[in-house]
Amino acid sequence: MSEKILEINDLRVQFKNGKEKVQPIRGVSFHINKGETLGIVGESGCGKSVTSLAIMGLLPDKTSEIASGNILFNNQDLSKLTDKQFRKLRGNDISMIFQEPMTSLNPVFTIGEQLKEPLRRHKNMSKSQARKEIISMLQQVGLPRAEQLIDEYPHQLSGGMRQRVMISLALLCKPQLMIADEPTTALDVTIQAQILDLLKKLKAESDMSLMLITHDLGVVAEMCNRVVVMYAGEVVEEAEVNDLFDSPKHPYTKGLMQSLPSNNDRKSKLFSIKGQVPRPSEITGGCAFANRCPHVLERCVKETPPSFTHQNHLSKCWLQDTSYKEVNHDETKGTAIR
Amino acid sequence: MKKNMFMLLAFSLVLLLSACTSGTAGDSSESSVDGNDPTSPKKDSLVVAYEADAATLMANIDVNYVTDAQIRNIYDPLIDRDGKTGDFVPVLAESWENVDEHTWKIQLKEGIKFHNGADFNAEAAKYSIDFILDEANQSFYRSRWVDVKEVKVISPTEIEIITSKPFPSLIQRIAEDLLVIEPGYVEEVGLDEAAKKPVGTGAYKFVEWSRDNYLKLEAFDEYWKGKPAIKSLEFRYIPEFSARLSAFLSGEVDLFKNIPVDSVDSITNDDHSKVAEVASARINYLALNNFYEGPLQDEKVRQAINYAVDVDELLNGVLNGHGTKMTGPLSQINNDYTETAEYGYDVEKAKALLKEAGHEPESLTLTLDTPNGRYPMDTQIAQAIASQLQRIGITVNVQTNEWGNHLEKIRNREMKDMFILGWGPAFDAQSTVENLFTKVAPYSGFYDEELEKEIYRVNQLFDEQERFDGFSDLQHKLVEKAAWVPLWQQSDLYAVRKDLKFTPRVDEKIQAYEMSWE
């Protein structure tokens, strides 16, 4: 069993908005092994981005807090770190790229000025050394004209190029873990293919771990070793990627996969999950998916299901309870729904 | 509540901060302000504050008293008025005589020099008068001098003035308007330059003029009357009274005119200060406008209002007694003054007269126009008059006008029933009577055909006694016909450093030569 680089245990995050308190993260646990790519999948509002911000210590100070749980990075609890300690980690050991390459770079500084920052902070590099390092990194991510580009401003670059700049920024200090939050969502398909290709290449060259947050099951299929499926602030399923695609256990995961047009016959009625993703304030007791679940049981509304693990395949659903096994016979056998 | 506290705290913080910064700066201010230190042994400078700048430093152009009062320290007149009595006194002139109805002869003093060393002589005197008459100079005095036909130089010390009409008030014009300028200098440097760096024969020489800031002068040691006691003279321009007062109280300013009556105490209470007061030749009155078609065209109504207005109450209540009550159109300082009968305060008579005229007091609604801030407490007086008339039942709407508009309304005969106006400084009857009681006079508020004939007749008289009698008669008639409610001679109130020897003049001039430090 490989070494865990990041381990999250029962993480709960609370947001305060005036007097209202909401919990967008309601007990999330998962881990990332050294060198692997973990995909986190879920629809908007499921808490995947909040989780990543919690790992980076970038939750807004005043309005949010980690209510409970811990985040262990190399066995160091990140949730207990001081600001200063965290700063040493960020950009150095853990780095992050974001969804919007258009707005994630500061418009009034040149690419060089922005990339220089982490090198100066973490590596104490001289100016010329840093410049060299940056240029070589820019070349490494496949950017042409790196020597000129370094003195240009973000708005002079296209979206794809900016995302490459973001990736080079994240890679500069050779982090052990990189978190990529929807890195290709804002990009066109052909550019997305370029970026995914680049990420794969970079992954292959180092032993960096990658946490890839996305809503696109295709991206997961292409990139990840293991997958965590989140719904309404909880991990509902976690499995090896092939395992998951072959035999999804949670009704939500199944629904997600079945509703993809490519998994349905042309012009046929698509499979779809009824209803809407609940808002954090609407979640009460029981299983959060109960009101949309085709297999809902009386029990689901009353009791929150625990995580059932079966050969490293975790699922948070009462259907996995052994007493209900028979009902779901076909699924447990591992037939893919195609 | 919490937030309020924060604001309070923050505000005091700012005050504190500015106090700290200003504390250090304050020291330097004291050293920089001349003569601020009362222990200084020989104080020979004087700072006079004025509400406004001089329009120009060229003599004989701007009729504004602020300009005049300042430049009279630089230029001398031929004839001046006595500071106490208002009588004519010779300055650069030696004597004058009336040769005939059209000719005046003036003898000039000898040996007097201008600041630039040029000699004063008849040519200079002639040039100064011609300067006014020359249209190109756009002198605003020209309107008063149009009847002067020619000035002849008889000898270096004698000139003759020929008028196109009989001009009995010429000497007065000379005394009030004319200052002597140096022909050679003006010709040499041109009008524009001469207006910025004036040269006269006066007690003070020009040093520096920063517009809307200050005018600095220094003593002219060769002054023909002798060395001035005050060596440097500065006029500083502070438009706001409160700023003027605080500059005075903090010692930056030694002298200023026109203290509001309610502030007199704050000066007398100050150890280093005193108040000087004089009844000025400027008068305030309530015009009862009979140009406007309204109840005030009826003499009885005008008389009734005279009875209904309690001038004593106004004077004591609003002006704190700073003013000299008048009963007729002329001030006591005026040469042609005659004592006239007083209406007195009599509410019953007022009501009776109104009834006689066919008015129920309660049915009357009158308008009273007043300028704002032109005369001491003018709007307040207007409001007080309104409430006095209210007592007999007349409703009065007070209308406050900006000064320019006020004048324009009078000129265009747009005034309604009553308005407040001041006049002066006036030392002769003609300038008041002719300009305020004839049909064509721009600022007139009263006109009576019969009286107007009489006015024009008396104006032409040359014989002093006849003239005096004529004006006396006119004064009585004007009071009888109740052309105004005469109010008072304005009291000129000066704030003065305690150790400054200063006697206020009736003609509002500030002559530094007459002052000295104790």
Partner: protein
Amino acid sequence: MKQKVLLSVNNLKKYYDIPQGLFKEKIIVKAVDDISFTITKGETFALVGESGCGKSTTGRTILKLTEPTGGRIIFDGNDIAALPYKKMRTLRNRMQMVFQDPYASLNPKKTVREILTEPLRVHKKFDHDTRLKKVKSMLEIVGLSEYHLDRYPHEFSGGQRQRIGIARAVILQPDFIIADEPVSALDVSVQSQVINLMLELQKEFELTYLFISHDLSVIQHMTDRVAVMYLGKIVEIAKTEDLFTNPKHPYTKALLSAVPITHPKEKKERIILKGDVPSPANPPSGCTFHPRCPAALDICKTQAPKTSEHGNSHSVSCHLYNKIEEEIPHAISHS
């Protein structure tokens, strides 16, 4: 069976001027540059392409939301480009639009009742009571209910809003609907609901769709014919199945190959295009795709390709097909 042509677009152009100051010549952006296609009654025609390729502009120009610079748009015999504003307004009850952003396309100050009644009111259909009945039944059809009537758009989720947007478009029972990226702002689980709704509505009201999208899997699922756009031009038109099984234009091939796999075990030969889409303000010479084209020939740099037909209403604009069939290089064939 000869299908009736509902809409035909001939040589449509839409250029934008960008003034560059007093002394410089203005830049002309050719957002849509000489495109032609026809849509027959009852079919779903797709425009696909990456952002900035002009697919949305095409949709808006057809509805005369922007004036075309050139070309003709014939809708059921009416020349839309030449139609005066008022006439166009009356024609609009037969042509409707569904927008990408369901939130931005609903007036935040209006209730659902107002939003849905408006088209009926504008086109003076029915009396007050009938309108309300219509609105209610429409709400049922799109999966909402009567008690949503007096809600404001912000009280709905994205999927619900898009249902309202679709209801507004369909309530007039138009012949033709332009759907501009109707599902791309939606979550996967909701996306399928909306697609289903659109398919159902099409059946029920015999609708013709112009479906604009960048999502190839959605297009594959629900359209009959596809036009692929690149930099303002149509590079390939084909029946949907035809296009997905036998793409001809190198760009189409690259586009299809870039779609992520659906299962980790799937192996896919990928054509990674070099560089970014050029700016339409400064398009490359010749074939605008040539700088990125893996199969570019010399001629591509100088000459714009002609459109060639390849049977079964499959046409393509590429120099590779301007020559004889045998010369097609095999290097870029789809795996």
